[in-house]
Amino acid sequence: MTTETLYALVGVGLFILGLYALFVRANLLRKILAANVMSSGVFLVLVALARRTGTVAPDPVPHAMVITGIVVAVSVTAFALILMLRIAMKTGQTELPDTWSE
Amino acid sequence: MNSSAALPLLILGSSLLPGLVIFFLPESRVRTRSALNLLGALLKLVLVGVMVWGVFNGTSYETRLPLIPGLDFVLHADALSLLFVTLSSVLWLVTTIYAIGYLEDSPHRSRFFGFFSLCVTATVGVAMAGNLVTFLLFYELLTLATYPLIVHRGTEVARLAGLSYLRYTIAGGALLMIGTVWLYTLCGTLEFTYGGFVHELASASTSRESLVVIFVLLIAGLGVKAALVPLHGWLPQAMVAPAPVSALLHAVAVVKAGAFGIVRVIYDVYGIEFAANLGVTLPLAILAAATIVYASVRALFQDDLKRRLAFSTISQISYITLGVATVGPIAAIGGIVHLVHQGLMKITLFFCAGNLAETLGVHKVSEMDGVAHRMPWTMAAFTLGALGMIGVPPLAGFISKWYLGTGAMAAGQEWIVAVLVGSSVLNAAYFLPIIYAAWFREAKGAWPAEQPRGSAETRWTLLLPPLVTALFALAVGLLASVPFSPLEWAQLIAEREYGR
């Protein structure tokens, strides 16, 4: 197994881990962290696969994609945190209720 | 666009535009609204007259606009559409006058007349549709335009009747749509053609079974509006609508659109020969005959006058289907001419029922004793209409039944004659007691809710329409062999279908 395959598999593992936690954890902060773990997984796969066997220079395109992705992820996280704070202020809880109503 | 392509659009527009304007008129603008209504109705009549004259002189009218690739929106004028267009524009004018009088000082009149105009637009569209998809378009539009008229009173009963109407008609429309699309995928066209297009265009690999299934789908979809038993359940409930709506629904618009569609499908889609060859006409004739007898029997037991008339409609409208499904030119004439005759007679009866309810508060047959002494003109019109329905010569209904009967004999289907005789006996049984009670019995006392009496027995806007239509019903019978009479048209249509 080459190094990049290993990294890619770890990335996929992180993605699945994050997805699992996002569904299972009730606490909103944990959910947001889980989403971050998911995106880190995807970025890891991207970076790992950028190194092409046999060539010296890695492919620049995935790097550009990862940078864009990180920017997006940071803003999403900031937004999610604000939303979480608002919910906590409004409901006094850090979890989403099971049912929703007006 | 040249004039021959524009005329069908103008005929549609002559009721569509006034209708749209009326929606936005404030309730208080009674004169403007009435003027718009009457102007639209008169204009339509004139335009239809121009079209009849043009067709007589050999002009062909066709409007064709692209709808989706391969399918056009087509309006055209052939003999059959002219018959129906003329009927609806004449009766629309009469009904408009009646409705203006009937709804005097009632709420929501702008809404009512707006939808009323849309309803007539849809009917005229059904009449002039040049292919099955255009027909379907207007057929569904008719459903939508009549619903607000049925629930117009705004009572809980009206709301439920409206729901029942929608359940039947929207489901029927869905069946019609499946049949239409299916037919299109098999034939690649839906244009109405004399003698039908299905037998020529359906590819050799097409099974006869699928054509039969499509036929059943189409007839079921149309049968809902034509109130073929067992698809008739909505009609008696829809009686909660105001009288002019019932008149229009039963004589011109909804019920007639269904019957007209059945004629179109059998003649111009399948072709009578091919339909007979498929073996679908006899079951349809039997269904129509069953409807005629069943509904007449039901009518016998209705005390509510409008319900009795409703069941009578269900029965009478099936004469059209019966005439077309009896494979033979003479019966066909009877069926087609009944399209007009039933309209004239039934609209008269509903106008009269409306007059009784509006002027005296009489809604039930049992309340009608001696009513003719109080309202002689109304009851005279009623009597003419009822005798016509029974088939007394020389009234309109007699002509229809005569052609149906002799046609059935000529086609070797004697059982139909028995149905006709039985039906006429039943017609007599549910109409004659009314006529007898109205003319020859003494009134039981005060009327349920009598309006203050003017110089005439009721408002002239209510009295004139039934008298006019009753005279029409008499005239089309007496003058049946005059050129341009409905009978002449019906003969022309039947010749085209059978003459090839």
Binding site: V12, F15, L19, L22, L28, M38, S39, V42, V45, L49, V61, P62, A64, M65, T68, G69, V72, S75, V76, F79, A80, L83, R86, I87, K90, T91, L96, P97, W100, S101, E102 | F23, L67, I68, P69, F73, R111, V133, L136, L137, L141, L144, Y147, P148, V151, R153, G154, T155, A158, R159, G162, L166, I170, G173, A174, M177, I178, V181, Y184, T185
Partner: protein, 483 residues
């Protein structure tokens, strides 16, 4: 003049105009409403100009700043993009006009910048020619949509927004993982290049599988629809109109592009029949829930779940006629659903609630709003002359032609259910009643906007041949079987 119209990069304008609109509304709050109106109007005009260009010269590509792929960003516009851009511009204009009447000033100033960001993101999405740009635009769309959902700040809205945010995140992550796999296998992100290189392999299957699941989640395909009804029902009415009318279609549009252009049939782990079957479930589940709903906005939201089901019937059919039908459905549903939500907004504005049983007291006093709802309903249930009728016709035709009659049956039965829930609402409005509640006067402009959109959705059926012809620009359907 004509030369300018046919050579100018209108695509760039379509992205920049709303971005500037967002900025300027934020910078100059005093004149924000005029800025908003001019921005929305400029968008409509730019789409018309783009349409002229596409109709005269066919599809086009534009390298932003002269930087081509792979490092630069290329914009791409063909008939399909035009259709979606037109829907966005029309609905966008209506919602902008409506929002000026609907929101109190402070809320309006919060709404407008995010709203124009959403429009910019949507336009960018419909103009993207590569799968990574689509990801970025999709994420931006999602973020702006969530922010708008949360705008009212109420408990239900915040919670719905949070759910929506997680759903949209999982969806785009899953999509992005698919993009990574595709890029690794074929070395390109560009649609056209991919279309030539893609071949069946386990990587392709799993990539398309991941992307389809992600996009289905964002489009709210049953059973991944759980986030939609609360979000669409608790957002302010103009926002709901945009969410149901436009945002849901953005992710579906990507799915269409992928299936139509990049991956020939049979290259996915998820077969078309499976997506179609989920679509049928969506039709009936959404329809049933809409029938059960007691609040108008919730009813409309579930109706969107149902209509999304219709969209997915295209995958098992996959003929030109079916694509025509579903694209036409996208267009007419955008107009009709937006009109419905705006009508619902009028009712809430008027009465302060949207309980369907109490409608008899409201509808008689808002006839134009009721007419808007009913007309849009005609379109939604697929009755003529509404745009929905043409769409239904084409899709039924496609299923009968290909011998798969069961999809046609689902379509027809679904439209009966739709008729039932539309008339459940309309039926109440004719009832006579004298009970008056305390009410607010609805600005005339709001009533007219809803009615105009509804009319457009109905008249669309009569001019169907135009959009159907525009779809063909650029030859999107070249590789699709005719029947």
């Amino acid at each position: 003049m004509e030369v300018i119209i046919t050579t100018f990069p209108w695509g760039v304008v379509l992205i920049l105009v709303p971005l500037f609109g967002a900025l300027s509304c934020f910078m100059w709050p005093n004149v924000a409403r005029y800025l908003a109106l001019s921005t929305a109007f400029a968008l409509v005009m730019s789409v018309i100009a783009l349409a002229v260009r596409l109709i005269t010269t066919g599809s086009y590509r534009h390298e932003i700043g002269g930087w081509g792929a792979p490092l630069g960003i290329e914009l791409f516009a063909d008939g399909l993009s035009l259709l979606m851009l037109a829907a966005t511009a029309v609905v966008g204009f209506a919602v902008t006009v409506y929002s000026i009447g609907y929101f109190p000033n402070r809320q309006l100033l919060r709404f407008l910048p995010i709203w124009f960001l959403l429009l910019a993101a949507l336009n960018a999405l419909f103009l993207s020619g590569d799968i990574f740009n689509l990801y970025v635009a999709l994420e931006l769309t999602g973020l702006a949509a969530v922010a708008l959902t949360a705008m009212s700040g109420g408990r239900a809205a915040l919670i719905a927004a949070m759910r929506y945010l997680f759903a949209t995140l999982v969806g785009s992550m899953s999509y992005l993982l698919g993009v990574v796999l595709i890029y690794h296998s074929f070395g390109s992100l560009d649609f056209m290049i991919l279309a030539e290189r893609v071949e069946a392999s386990p990587a392709t299957w799993s990539a398309l599988g991941l992307m389809s699941i992600g996009l289905a989640l964002k489009t709210a395909l049953f059973p991944l629809h759980f986030w939609l009804p609360p979000a669409h029902a608790s957002a302010p009415a103009p926002v709901s109109a945009a969410l149901s009318g436009l945002v849901v279609k953005a992710s579906f549009y990507i799915l269409l592009r992928l299936w139509l252009e990049v991956f020939p049939a049979g290259h996915s782990l998820i077969p078309g029949e499976f997506l179609g079957a989920l679509g049928v479930c969506a039709i009936f589940w959404g329809g049933l829930q809409a029938l059960r709903a007691t609040r108008l906005k919730l009813l409309i939201a579930y109706s969107t779940v149902m209509q999304v089901g219709y969209f997915f019937l295209v995958f098992p059919l996959a003929t030109v006629v079916a694509w025509h039908g579903v694209l036409f459905l996208l267009l007419s549903h955008a107009l009709a659903k937006a009109a419905m939500f705006l009508a619902a907004g009028n009712i809430i504005y008027f009465a302060g609630h949207d309980r369907i049983v109490d409608f008899d007291r409201i509808a008689q006093q808002l006839p134009m709003t009721l007419a808007a709802f009913a007309l849009a309903g005609v379109c939604i249930m697929g009755l003529p002359p509404g745009g929905g009728f043409i769409a239904k016709w084409l899709m039924v035709q496609a299923s009968l032609e290909s011998g798969q009659w069961w999809w046609a049956a689902a379509l027809i039965l679904g439209s009966l259910v739709a008729a039932a829930y539309v008339f459940k609402v309309v039926g109440h409005s004719f009832t006579q009643t004298t009970v008056r509640e305390k009410t607010n006067v609805v600005p005339v402009l709001m009533e007219w906007t809803a009615l105009a959109l509804a009319l457009a959705s109905v008249l669309l059926g009569l001019v169907a041949s135009w959009p159907l012809a525009w779809m063909e620009i650029g030859g999107v359907f070249a590789g699709v079987p005719a029947r």
